[in-house]
């Protein structure tokens, strides 16, 4: 379908497609097998200016919007959402600075992320604070001109690989949700370390570690925005980033459909390519229909967000749920169409099915997304 992309958007698609076809697809199986972080590929993306897409022009970026980043991530996701996640997590890590950071902070951090010289990461989740962010234990206490951080973040994407970490910590326990703040921690700050790489079911090219703060001292000016605005910044960050996860789902589903359909054309059983059997055709048709419906929703949501940045929660959650549930289903069906071959590691759909699952879990589980949509509906119908 023609989505009437601008010339610049077509360029983003072309560049991301070329990186996906020439760099990611040939290497994805090995990166998965070896749990290897894709430094060289990310370097290529940096050279192609992709890291600059969401960053304003005055900081060396492209000044792109939600749809621009969605288009890039969709292509990358077609190759490997592990690589796509590593890329997306760097954007996620700088959104708090983009959303709430001071001018000095933006000038200090954004140009290096735009050029890909440095990676970023976002630290919210803890052992007892996932869907319920109010359970955060990590604290930041002001001591003279320094914040002192203590606590442990869990399952942080780009942990150990990033140089810039935006983390949530409680600065005033008595104020509940208004007692959380966001701060920037840099690689090498005293008292800050990353745990070992977690062993995951999928997206194994991406790095996931703990962030450990033991009397970690950082300068006072590392506070992002005002004290106590941490939760608002987190919510705005996730609202902005969720369509990107939806886009990884679109890409993954497209990759799975491509594999399943080409296989069905050449696999012969009972004297015919299995594509000729209606049972298989209907499966492929359903995959294509669901994918296109999701794409229309994600692009539509991204355009809405670009036009109405203050009213994005509901559409952002809607597109994340729909596109990632779709990706899981399409990947599972791709394995089914390919039968025993699909289940073998030799074929890419096995990895796609393992990878797809995380899309329904991270950046807010799909159940939490439905809560967001439900709460927004509740508000809307109360007003009416």
């Amino acid at each position: 379908m023609d989505y009437f992309l601008s010339e610049e958007q077509e360029m983003i698609v072309e560049i991301a497609r070329q990186i996906t076809d020439e760099r990611i697809i040939p290497q994805r199986a090995e990166l998965d097998e070896k749990d290897e972080f894709p430094r060289a590929i990310l370097g290529e993306m940096a050279r192609a200016d992709l890291f600059g897409v969401p960053i304003p022009e005055e900081y060396g970026g492209f000044g792109g919007g939600c749809l621009d980043i969605v288009l890039a991530l969709e292509q990358l996701g077609r190759g490997c959402i592990g690589v796509g996640t590593a890329f997306a997590a760097s954007s996620l890590g700088i959104y708090p600075i983009l959303i709430a950071g001071s001018q000095e902070m933006r000038e200090k951090y954004l140009p290096d992320v735009a050029s890909g010289k440095k990676f970023a990461a976002f630290g919210l989740t803890e052992a007892n604070a996932g869907s319920d962010a109010s359970g955060i234990q990590t604290t930041a206490v002001l001591d003279g001109d320094e914040w002192v951080l203590n606590g442990t973040k869990q399952w942080i994407t780009n942990g150990g690989e990033a140089q810039i970490y935006t983390v949530v910590a409680i600065t005033d326990r008595s104020k509940g949700a208004r007692g959380a703040s966001m701060l920037v921690v840099e690689e090498g700050d005293p008292g800050f370390s990353c745990g070992p790489k977690e062993k995951k079911m999928g997206i194994r090219a991406s790095s996931t570690t703990e962030l450990i703060f033991k009397d970690c001292r950082i300068p006072k000016d590392r506070l992002i925005g005002r004290k106590g605005t941490g939760f608002i910044t987190v919510m705005k960050t996730l609202d902005s980033s969720r369509p990107g996860i939806a886009a990884l789902g679109l890409g993954l589903a497209q990759g799975a459909l491509d594999e399943a359909a080409s296989y069905a054309k050449q696999r012969v059983q009972f004297g015919k390519p299995i594509m000729a059997f209606q049972a298989v055709q209907h499966m492929l048709a359903d995959m294509a229909i669901q994918l296109e419906a999701a794409r229309a929703l994600v692009y539509g949501a991204a355009r809405h967000i670009d036009a109405h940045p203050n009213n994005m929660s509901k559409v952002s959650s809607m597109c994340k749920v729909f596109a990632t549930d779709m990706a899981m289903k399409v990947a599972t069906d791709a394995v089914q169409v390919m039968g025993g071959y699909g289940y073998m590691r030799e074929y890419p759909v096995e990895k796609m099915m393992r990878d797809a699952k995380i899309l329904q879990i991270y950046e807010g589980t799909n159940q939490i997304q439905r809560n967001v949509v439900g709460q927004e509906l509740n508000k809307e119908y109360t007003r009416a």
Binding site: I15, I19, R47, A48, G52, F62
Partner: protein, 259 residues
């Protein structure tokens, strides 16, 4: 450092057919790409520019649509583009092409390095690079597989040979032709693509470069294509089956007559 890279638009080899009557390439409906060896030459030029400073000019002789490959080179980091295009150039062989490019290089002006791909994948002659160097009276090195050292005063290179490689040092100006081993061409950048879209390409005609009409196009081309044919397969193939030991036995038996 001023670098000029000669590039050519060629039919995509994945998609190539011969016209059985004329023995020339059937180009209609075939996707055009930048000659793959030339992509490596552009990449090396951009790397040298990043290392030593300066600018990269890409030069192509071809029909108006050859602009596409020039814009592609710009999107990958080249600074200026020149298209030498004229109906009078049609039918040029390597002799006439090297004459035309030499004339165009003289119009572009002073340079330190001229880079070319080893050969174009359509004609496969590998003659234009050396021909151009001879016409410009500058030294050349073909089949460069590595730039070991690059400074403002000269280069140390590896030249690929059948049995290894030569190490050569040379001063500027010089012409080099590149093999694919030299680098991995980059993916175009977003800023590069946006620049490529807007950039005005300098266009030169036969008159602009002061070409002698007798030396260009078909009249200036002594080469005649008499016959084009696929090479005969030179070796026999055999597949051995059975256990590893049996396969080795079969291999040794089949080699026996030649020992």
């Amino acid at each position: 450092m001023k670098i000029i890279v000669c590039i050519k638009q060629v039919p995509d080899a994945k998609d190539v057919r011969l016209d059985p009557k004329t023995n020339t390439l059937a180009r209609e409906g075939v996707q055009s790409i930048m000659n793959p060896y030339d992509q490596h030459a552009v990449e090396e030029a951009v790397r040298l520019k990043e290392l030593l400073g300066g600018e990269v000019t890409v030069l192509s002789m071809g029909p108006p649509q050859a602009e596409e490959v020039l814009r592609q080179a710009i999107s990958c980091g080249a600074d200026h583009a020149v298209l030498v295009s004229d109906r009078a150039f049609a039918g040029a062989d390597t002799w006439a092409t090297s004459y035309t490019l030499a004339k165009a290089v003289n119009v572009i002006g002073a340079f330190d390095l001229l880079l070319c791909g080893k050969q174009a994948i359509d004609g496969d002659t590998a003659q234009v690079g050396p021909g151009l160097a001879m016409r410009l009276q500058i030294p050349y090195v073909t089949c460069v597989q590595k730039v070991r050292q690059a400074t403002d005063s000269g280069l140390v290179l590896e030249r690929m040979m059948d049995d290894g490689y030569d190490v050569l040092a040379l001063d500027y100006p010089a012409l080099l032709t590149m093999v694919k081993d030299i680098n991995e061409p980059r993916v175009p950048s977003l800023k590069g693509k946006m620049r490529a879209k807007k950039l005005e390409i300098r266009k030169l005609t036969a008159a602009d470069i002061g070409a002698d009409p007798a030396c260009i196009g078909l009249p200036g081309s002594p080469t005649q294509v008499v016959k084009v044919f696929p090479p005969e397969a030179r070796c026999q193939r055999a597949v051995f089956t059975g256990s590893l030991d049996e396969q080795i036995g079969q291999l040794v038996d089949s080699l026996q007559p030649y020992l």
